[in-house]
Amino acid sequence: MSLWRQAREVARVDLVVEGRVGETVRVIVPFAVAALLVLPFATGPNLALLRQVGMPVFWTLGVLFGMQIALRQSANDTDARRDLYALAGLDPAARFVGRAMSAAALLVVFLAVLLIATLALYDTPVTGDMTLPLAVALVLFAYGMAALATLAGEVSSGLRSRGALASLIVAPLSLPLVMGAAQTVAAMDRGTGILAWSLLLLASDIALTVVGVAVAGPLEESRT
């Protein structure tokens, strides 16, 4: 079976499990939306300021809560499930890609909900022309965050300080993703070119996938 088909199967089952457990919807989305509500209380009813900070706040919350979602996905494996995958002949690289795909799908949904809440609460101006670049930036950002967190989850798997270590890996390495996504939208708003920033996002996604696929086997080997 090809790596791609195995990866799709891992992603499919991850999403079925998430659909039944519902952790992302039930826990993380309400917390993220609640976090959006905090800032207006801190700044007071300054609508001009809220409009200005709407998108930066969105991307910041996207990193913080997106990291939680993606790390939670990568931490789904129990020892028994790892054994199941190993003995079913699952390619470690396929597990990495599948897990990144399922986390990315959850992140896209999460970011879409968060974006709608941001637009509603902060009165952030988004014109019709911005819809497509924003959607592209959102999807590329979601996949990059998912791949990065999956990679961090794999690197720190089995360690006692897993949670802290994975977050420490993700936070600095997410910088090109945040810059790329935020600047794509900002450049669109200014009416300047978005190609360079979109390419930064795309290049980051590709680099993270290549690294993840390359190290999946050795990481699996070192874990036994």
Binding site: M1, A80, D83, L84, A86, L87, A88, P218, E221, T224
Partner: protein, 216 residues
Amino acid sequence: MRLAAVQPLVAFAGVGVTRDGNALVDDVDLEIAPGEVVGISGPNGSGKTTLLRLVATLLRPDRGEGTVFGARIGTSQVFGVRRNIGVVGHEPALVPELTIRENLDHVARLADLDRSRIVPVLETVGLAGAADRRVRAASRGMQRRAEIAQILLRDPSLLLLDEAASGLDRDAQGLIEALTRRVVSRGGAVVTVSHDPAHLEGCTRVLRITAGRLSA
């Protein structure tokens, strides 16, 4: 004419595993040939499960060398042979949030197996009526049957049983015995570990493990 020597499925020489300064398994020499049913007995904490995980290629040794189906354990060579290994362990290797049928389907898709065999396999293990029950909600006995179904579907050549008969009714124990006969009849081998010598009756060879050391 010289007959070619039968290649062992498992060959360990001086294999040992140490964790937190404790030797869980030490200096193990073990060869398992096709057709063998090897029993390993020993008290709790003697290293039975650790040894079984080494044979399953799911654990890397700190010392010594070992091969399973010719692949060196602790290296990426084992990725290619793991499909030939089936384990019935303490914790069922199943996804708890999926139903029993979905678990079999998942394994079949991952291992590129014939999915039309899922229903017959479920009937064989007596789970046809409970196939749509989630593993999390199934009884321990049902989970064990589901694990046996998963192994039947994969049809491995090396079957590893870790206290597999404990807590099972006569019917389920019969399933494990039938699975053992099936693997052996197809040229495979079985390793079964138990603290209860009664569960090792019928083995072609019984070894004892004490404080991580294996003896005849």
